[in-house]
C-alpha cells in the first residue's frame, strides 16, 4: 500500500471563500443542494451531505476579552471547511454489507457507487454524520479525497483551489508534523485557544485521515468533541452474542437431555 494520504485543514487561515465547496462540486459533478436562504451567517449549504462533500461553517462570535485591564467585546468570525474524516477505524466501511465502501491504496475510505445498494447502514454508523444517501437515487455518497485525481497524481480539487492553503493535502505523517509546528507557532503568538482535532491516533476513531486546527471547542464548529467509531463494540458484542448462542444451545441441549432422562 502507498503512503497514507490526508487533509490538514488549518481553519486559522480559512477566509471562507468556499472555493473548496465549488471546486469539489465541479470536479465530482455533484448536484446543487437547492437555493435556500438560511439566515445563518454566510452559510447556505448547512452541513456535509450526499451532495456537499466540503462544507464551510461560519460561526459569528462576540466574546468579552480582557484588554488592558478592562473587558472589551471582540468580534470573531470563525470559518472552517469540513470534510469526511477518512477514519483509521471507519465504521461506515465496517457495516457496509456489499463492499461498496472500501479502503484505497492511499488509506482513504471511498464508496463505489456502482456497488452501493442503498441499504443506508453506513449513514447512522458515521460518528460525524458525514455520509448520507441522496434522495433521488437512494445511494450513499461522500468525499473520496478525489480518489480519481490521486490516481492521476493530482491533489484533491478542494486543496488545489484553496487560495490560502487552509486545506493542505499530503502524506499524513508529514501533515501531522506541519500541524504540530503551526500549533506551536500559534500558541507562541498567544493564541492558546488553538487546538488540533482528529490528529491523534489514540482517539476514538484511531485518528482521522482528515484532521483540523480549530480555534475553539469542536462543538462550536458542529463537530463531536469525542467521536468514537460506532462499531468499536462490535467484536465484543459478537463475543457476547457468540457466548450467548453457545449457552443458549447448551441450555437447549440440557433441556433436551433432561427430557430424555425424565422420559
Amino acid at each position: 500500500m502507498a503512503e497514507r494520504m490526508g487533509f490538514f485543514t488549518d481553519t486559522s487561515v480559512c477566509i471562507g471563500c468556499k472555493a473548496c465547496e465549488v471546486a469539489c462540486k465541479e470536479w465530482n459533478e455533484l448536484p446543487d443542494d437547492g437555493f435556500v436562504f438560511e439566515a445563518t451567517s454566510y452559510d447556505n449549504t448547512g452541513a456535509l451531505g450526499a451532495s456537499t462533500w466540503r462544507h464551510v461553517a461560519f460561526i459569528e462570535q462576540t466574546r468579552a476579552v480582557r484588554v488592558d485591564g478592562h473587558e472589551e467585546d471582540v468580534d470573531r468570525w470563525l470559518m472552517s471547511s469540513d470534510v469526511c474524516k477518512h477514519c483509521t477505524h471507519a465504521a461506515c466501511l465496517d457495516v457496509c454489507p456489499t463492499g461498496a465502501l472500501f479502503r484505497t491504496e492511499f488509506d482513504t475510505v471511498v464508496v463505489q457507487p456502482d456497488v452501493c445498494n442503498g441499504c443506508g447502514y453506513c449513514v447512522p454508523a458515521c460518528p460525524y454524520g458525514v455520509i448520507d444517501r441522496r434522495q433521488d437515487d437512494g445511494r450513499a455518497w461522500k468525499c473520496t479525497m478525489c480518489y480519481d485525481r490521486q490516481l492521476g497524481g493530482l491533489e484533491p480539487a478542494c486543496a488545489k483551489a484553496c487560495p490560502t492553503d487552509s486545506i493542505q493535502f499530503g502524506p499524513l505523517d508529514e501533515l501531522r508534523e506541519r500541524a504540530a509546528a503551526r500549533l506551536a507557532g500559534l500558541h507562541a503568538d498567544g493564541h492558546t485557544e488553538a487546538r488540533l482535532y482528529g490528529e491523534s491516533p489514540d482517539d476514538g476513531v484511531g485518528g482521522a485521515g482528515a484532521f483540523f486546527l480549530l480555534l475553539d471547542e469542536p462543538e462550536v464548529y458542529g463537530l463531536p468533541p469525542d467521536p468514537v467509531v460506532t462499531t468499536r463494540d462490535l467484536p465484543s458484542m459478537w463475543r457476547w452474542a457468540g457466548a450467548a448462542a453457545v449457552s443458549l444451545a447448551g441450555a437447549v441441549a440440557v433441556a433436551f437431555l433432561e427430557s430424555r432422562v425424565r422420559r
Partner: protein, 836 residues
Amino acid sequence: MAECHPVGFQWVMEAKARGAKVFHVDPRFTRTSALADSYLPIRAGSDIVLLGALINHVLGNGLDFREYVLAYTNAATIVSEDFRDTEDLDGLFSGFDPETRTYDPASWSYEDGAGGEADERGESARRQTEAAGAERFGAGGAGAHPAPRTDPTLTHPRCVYQILKRHFARYTPELVERLCGIPETDFAELAEAITANSGRERTTVWVYSVGWTQHTVGAQYIRTASILQLLLGNMGRPGGGILALRGHASIQGSTDIPTLFNLLPGYLSMPHAHRHEGLDDYLEREGGETGFWGNRRSYLVSLLKAWWGEAATEENDFCFDYLPRLTGDHGHYTTVMGQIDGTVKGYFVTGENPAVGSSGGRAQRLGLANLDWLVVRDLTLVETATFWRDGPELETGELRTEDIATEVFFLPAASHVEKEGTFTNTQRLLQWREKALDPPGDCRSDLWFYYHLGKRIRQRLTGDEIDRPLRELTWDYPEEGEHAEPSAAAVLREIGGVGPDGRALSAYTQLRPDGSTRCGCWIYCGVYADEVNQAARRRPGREQSPAALEWGWAWPANRRILYNRASADPEGRPWSERKAYLWWDAERGEWTGHDVPDFEKGKPPGYLPPEGAKAEDALAGTDPFIMQSDGKGWLFAPAGLADGPMPAHYEPHESPLHNPLYHQQANPARRIYHRPESPYNPPESPRFPYVLTTYRLTEHHTAGAMSRPLAYLAELQPELFCEVSPQLAAEVGLANGGWATIVTSRAVIEARVLVTGRVRPLRVQDRVIHQVGLPYHWGWGSGGLVTGDVTNDLLPIVLDPNVYIQESKAMTCHVRPGRRPRGRALLDLVEEYRYG
C-alpha cells in the same frame, strides 16, 4: 480583500505569516476583518478624516521620513501667495466659481521662479486646468514649473510642508472618534503601527478598492493616502505603495487601452473639439515639457502611425484630425441622461449590465427605453437586453412593452476561456491566456465582433471626405479558423510597437516623433520585444528572483515596482540592506538591482539638468517620479485635480450628519444631476436616517450575470439580503431570516434580513448611527437560477468631479419590516418618502 479578491488575499496571508500586522478598516466586519490583526469599524464616507488624522499625526510629531521627503517630494516648494486653504475659506479652496461649481486652479500654482517672470509652462498648466474635469486630462495631468522656488528648511510659511501641517491640524484623533466612530485607542494603535513600520528598514502598504473610489471625493481619498505614503517614504519601494484592487479581470487593461470616453491608449487625453486645433496645439496644451510626458509627441505620433499607417504623414499632422473629438462630458451617467432626453439614439453595451449594475437603475432603464437601437453583447441574456419585456417599470405601469420602440440586438459573446488574449492585472502585469475551447454556437469574441463590424462598415464606405478616416484606417489582421477570428497576437504586436525596420520594439524610449515608429499604446511598448510574446512567459517564480521578471510582462518596460529609483537614497545607495531593491553601480555607471530600473539606466545620482532641458533630461538624478514635470512626488497638487490641491473632508452627498469641519457640507465641485428620474435624499433628513453602503460577496460577480446562472455559486448565496445590527433590527422590527423593505428617493426594494453583530452601530457626533449593508448581485433575469430586487435602483446619481465615478458606497435610506408593495402602491410609497 478576502471578500472580493480571495486569490490575491493569499499574499496578505503570506505577509501575515512573516510577521506583518494587518489592519482592516471597513463599515462592516467582513471575511477580511476576520483574518486581520485589528479591525476598525468606520462610518462609510469618512475616510479622509481617518487618513488626514494619520497625516496630522506624522506631521505633528515630526515622524516623516525627512531625507526622503526633502529629496523626493515637493514638500519644500513655495506655493503662490494667492492660494487660500479650506481652513481660511470655510471649506472652499481659492478659485471656486459658485456659478459653474468649478475651480480655477491658477492660485494653487507654485510661486514663480526668480524674478516672478510670467513662465510659459506655468501659463500652459493654468490653461489646461481651467475648469478641470474628467474630460480634460490624460494621466499626464498638468505640468508644473520644473524648478520652482524651494525652502529646504521647510519653515517658509508658504512651503508645501507648512501648508499641509496647517491644513491637517484639525484632523485629530478626537475628530476621528467623533466623525468616523473609531475609538481613540484604536486610532493610536494604527498610527503607531504605520509609523513604526515605515522608514529606512521597513515599509507599509495600503490596499484599497472601490470602497475608497466610489465617493464624491473618491479621487481625494487616494490623494490622502498618497500624501501619507510619501511622507512616510513608502512609494517606489518594495513592500510599499498604494495598491488599487480592480473589480474585474483586466479592468486595468481597459483603462490602459481605454474604454473610457476621455482617454486614448496610454493615458493620452482625447482631443477636445473646441480646445485643440491641431496636433501642435494639442501637444502644447496637454502638459509640461519636462519629465517623460515631455515625449508625448513620440507617443501620440506612434499611435497615429499604428492606426493610419502610410496615410499618416508629417504633412497631414499624422492624421490627428481623424481622431474623434470631445465636446464635453460623455461619461456613462451623462450619456444616460442624453438617452432620456432623446439626444442619444444608439447604444453599444458589451460585457456590462447597466439596467442592474449602474446607480439609479430606473433612470438607466428609462434611458434604454428611449433609444432607437441597442446592441447588447454578453454571455447570458442580461437584464439590459430584456428590460423591455420584464423590467420592474412594467410591473409599476410606468412603461408598457408596446410603447418601447428600442430595437434590441442581442449578440452572444465568447467567455474568457473561449478566446485568447491578455489580461492586465492590478500590478500592470500582462498575462497571455490560451483558448481552452471553441465558443458554442454563435458566440464570438469581442475582438471578432469589432473587427468584422469594422470590415462590414468599410465595405459600405463611399469616396466622400467624411469616410476618409475609416477608409485609411489600418484594419488588416491575419484571420484564423472557420469564423475568421482575427489574430489576437497580431493585435498585441501592433500595440507593442514596431520600428522603421518593421521589427518589434523593446521599450517606449525607442519611440520617435517623426513617424518612423508605430505603437498602439506607448506604455505597452516592448510587450512583443524580440518578436516574442513577452506576456506569454511562464517561468515559475521558484526558478527566478523574487521580482519574477520572467513571468508575464509588466508595463512599462517590464518594471515591477513603479518609481523604484526611490528605493535608493539620493546618492543611489539602498535605504537599508533589508529593503535593498535598486541601486547605483558607480563602477559600471548604471542602475542595477532586482528590478528593471524605472529610471534612465545610465543617469547618475549626481546628474543636474542644464538650463532649458526638456523631457527626461530636465529631471535630476535624484528625481524618481519621472512622469511628473518636476520629478517629485506631489504632497500638494498645484494642478490636475478638479476639487482642490489637497483633500478635505466633506460629507457624502447624502448624509445623516452635518459637516462639523466646514460650513461647506459636501464636495463643492461634485457632479450633480437635478433630474426627476433620479432625485436625491436631502442631507440630514429624518426620513432617511440610516447610512446605506453596497458591496460584493465572494460568491457572486457584479450584477450576477456570470454567477447567478451557475448552480454551484447561486446555492451559496441564493437571495438578496441586507445586513443590519441587532440594535437596528430591534429599532425597526426586523427579524433574522424575515423580510425588509429598503427605501430611498429613487426606489423601494425588498431583501431578506441577516441580523449580525458584524454590523455595529457607531457613536458619531454624539448620536448613534446605524449602517445598512446591501450586496448588489441580484436582478430579475440574466438566466439566473436565483433572482432578486436591484440594489442599485436605490442609489443616487452623483459623481466625483475628477473621474465621474458614482457615489455608491455612502448614501442614506430608510428600512421597514416586511415585503415591499407591488405595482402602483410601490410608486406611492416612494412618493410618500420623497416628499415627506
